[in-house]
């Protein structure tokens, strides 16, 4: 007979929280796996009463939404956690923030309320800001114009199964260039999909169409994620929960 865990099954999920966090500075070099491990440990240190799956190796109920690539910073990463005891979302935010390394910050934590839909359904687009040290606006602007004038720009992307050609153009719904302190900055709105088009791919496309070759590695920051509407605006994915929360104030335990 296979052994079964003794005792009662783990307590059920009584509350779902949605969390927006930022990875900044040095920790932009953390991979998704690194972040997942770090977040799980921080939740334990912060003593957040997580709900667990059943069985011999119970896992805390956490779901991650598509992570920014290793090397990119982000102001808008999202995850959803299940709790076994109701908590004040702001108290969880503060406790988790304090338990994380300096360059990871919990920006917001809201309760996911019934009937507001899933978080994944509210995210299909990323807003990127890419600093190009050593590149002048006068170089970036024409390259970007050339890129935007094309219908398709094929670049080779490194994937698990080797190099693969993808179109870097179609996913980019808008983009513009500015200059700050002598450094060209590329802002762009990019639809998420498979294969994912990342800032690196767009930069490779700029090299392909206009021979733009940044002398130093560019620095990308995901500024926002959300759903792109017809007007070209990217909606805040936590907006519906925040709106619902003001209508329904629940009882909260503190942690």
């Amino acid at each position: 007979m296979a052994r079964q865990p003794e005792g009662p099954p783990p307590p059920p999920t009584v509350q779902k929280l949605r969390i927006r966090y930022a990875k900044r500075g040095r920790l932009r070099f953390a991979s998704h796996r690194d972040l997942a491990r770090t977040l799980e440990r921080a939740l334990r240190r912060a003593q957040v009463p997580m709900a667990f799956s059943a069985g011999f190796s119970p896992h805390p109920k956490i779901s991650y939404l598509g992570a920014a690539p290793t090397g990119s910073a982000s102001e808008a990463e999202y995850l959803e956690i299940g709790l076994s005891v109701r908590c004040d979302p702001e108290a969880v935010r503060a406790a988790l923030d304090a338990a994380l390394p300096e360059d990871l910050a919990v920006v917001e934590c809201v309760e996911a309320l019934e009937g507001t839909g899933s978080l994944a359904d509210r995210i299909d687009t990323s807003v990127w800001r890419v600093e190009l040290p050593g590149v002048a606006l006068a170089e970036l602007e024409p390259a970007l114009a050339e890129f935007l004038s094309r219908d398709v720009v094929t670049v080779a992307k490194r994937t698990k199964n080797g190099l693969r050609d993808i179109d870097a153009r179609a996913s980019v719904t808008s983009a513009f260039a500015v200059e700050e302190a002598g450094c060209a900055i590329l802002h762009m709105v990019v639809r998420q999909g498979t294969p994912a088009v990342r800032p690196d791919d767009v930069l490779a496309a700029l090299t392909a169409v206009a021979d733009l070759r940044p002398p130093l590695p560019p620095r990308a920051v995901r500024a926002a994620q959300g759903r792109l509407d017809d007007t070209g605006t990217v909606a805040d994915p936590l907006g519906p929960d925040r709106a619902a929360r003001t209508r329904c104030q629940g009882e909260h335990a503190t942690i």
Partner: protein, 640 residues
Amino acid sequence: MTGETLYPRLEPLLAQIQKPIQYVGGELNSQVKPWDGAAVHWALMYPDAYEVGLPNQGLMILYEVLNERPDALAERTYAVWPDLAALMRENGVPQFTVDGHRAVKDFDLLGVSFATELGYTNLLEALDLAGVPLHAVDRDETHPVVVAGGHAAFNPEPVSDFVDAAVLGDGEQVVGDITDVVKAWKAQGRPGGRVELLARLARVDGVYVPSFYAVSYAADGAIAAVTRTRDDVPVKVGKRTVMDLDEWPYPKTPIVPLAESVHERMSVEIFRGCTRGCRFCQAGMITRPVRERTITGIGSMVEQGLKATGYEEVGLLSLSSADHSEIGQLAKELADRYEGTNTSLSLPSTRVDAFNVTLANELSRNGRRSGLTFAPEGGSERIRRVINKTVSKEDLVRTVTTAYANGWRQVKLYFMCGLPTETDEDVLEIAELAVEVIRAGREASGQKDVRCTVSIGGFVPKPHTPFQWAGQASADTIDHRLRILRQAINADRRIGKSIGLRYHDGKPGVIEGLLSRGDRRVGRVIERVWREGGKFDGWSEHFSFDRWTTAAAEELAPFGVDLDWFTTRERTEHEILPWDHLDSGLDKEFLWDDWQEALNEEEVADCRWTPCYDCGVCPTMGTEIQIGPTGRSLIPLTVV
């Protein structure tokens, strides 16, 4: 300016390499102290990749102990992978610490912890990247003092050209003494330059400065004499031993990496030293006597460490954890404390006896029973008597069967190959044993899916053990025995498919043997290998046996010795061994007698439970066995 951060220059390079996260620091519980506030700056290096080096307990302890001193600062540095090393050379970025990203050459001291000799080429690579002269003789007051520590430092002769000093034994107290010496010398305006500093360090108990000792060789290639070149340094350098481990509850706040590392858990050292007397085991021999942490000391370290890290697993570490005098109670009370918290407890690989299964059951009370590891080390009863790790075949099979019957599905058995007096038959018995274990296990558990993994590696004779005189088995011998073992296991497919075999070929062991029992002449081989691109020798994809054998042949020939002379040659009783002037406390006569008893297949008892048999350690070092039980117990933690 010294102590300045190199990060702005490093960052663009990080975007171009594999796993950049390992170089950025900023881990939980790491610290960066202001440079100018500290009188003495230590760079602590583990000479392997970050993922291997970060969990190292020794370094983590010293990092905390030093940083707790207001007048000292300690930062960590690790071996840099070739992809980043190439970019660093191209861009003039020197070896840096991961905490403050400060240049290693700015530090007063570079402490390097050698758990294995295969890290030597990585030390040379780091020195070169740091811009520190490779040879100790070429350094001046502006360069860090390079100090080796760790188990391999009990014979630092092969790296004596490259290190300024080696520290023998426990590091907790001696790093403080070294800090005091360096601080005073700096405050006095560095009188007498580097030589005077080294002379002062050589007078610190446990510190060996190779440059103050001259080695001469006889016509047969053996050492003729080791003589000190100043009379104010000790003739023989003795090891340091920390007594009362409860007073040293480190690490208190273990560093939690963001990157994946080889041990994703928190470790608590429940005792130090081991007197089981396994004759192959250098760790056991050089860390005598046994000093236990008390059950309450362990309890508070576990509690504090979990709070500080958020780890979900705690490893109760030592050389033979089931031997702790309070282990049964400890296992039960810790399991009680953490029941229902999703915190798991584990013991490292254990001796083969039924009690260990009971313990493992207790620790995994409500967790998954995936794998249990035993270390019989020797394949036959005869060879287990030779190595003094006696367990009968019946007991072994019975213990493993009990584990299967208790719901463990996977048992791992550790063995060594190439032990002194070993024959093919001794190794083939491993196959018989594994087959029997599976048969009995299937029967006892009523399940077909029980598995047994045999993990086997070549034995490397080590200094300060009874086997220090033994001839090492050649790579060919090891490879032959591993081959016949594999064939024997695969002979019966119905059983063989439940047995996994994990092994390392014999070649790296030969080089480890050269470096373990080498003398100063081996330094030239290490340097040559590094100059030809050798590094990360502990990684099969980087290790080149041919590079080592060619370098050894050419560099050792002028001395009339060769690789075999250092490895497969059996030493005679009165040969001066390269480490004879370094004192682990063990009497050479005791070790020789124990070697003879090994050859006669005679056992020796454990001095914790039988009278002292005069190995020499306690009287020489002024130490004593410290064991419980204390009669104390762990009270349940108050619920938060």
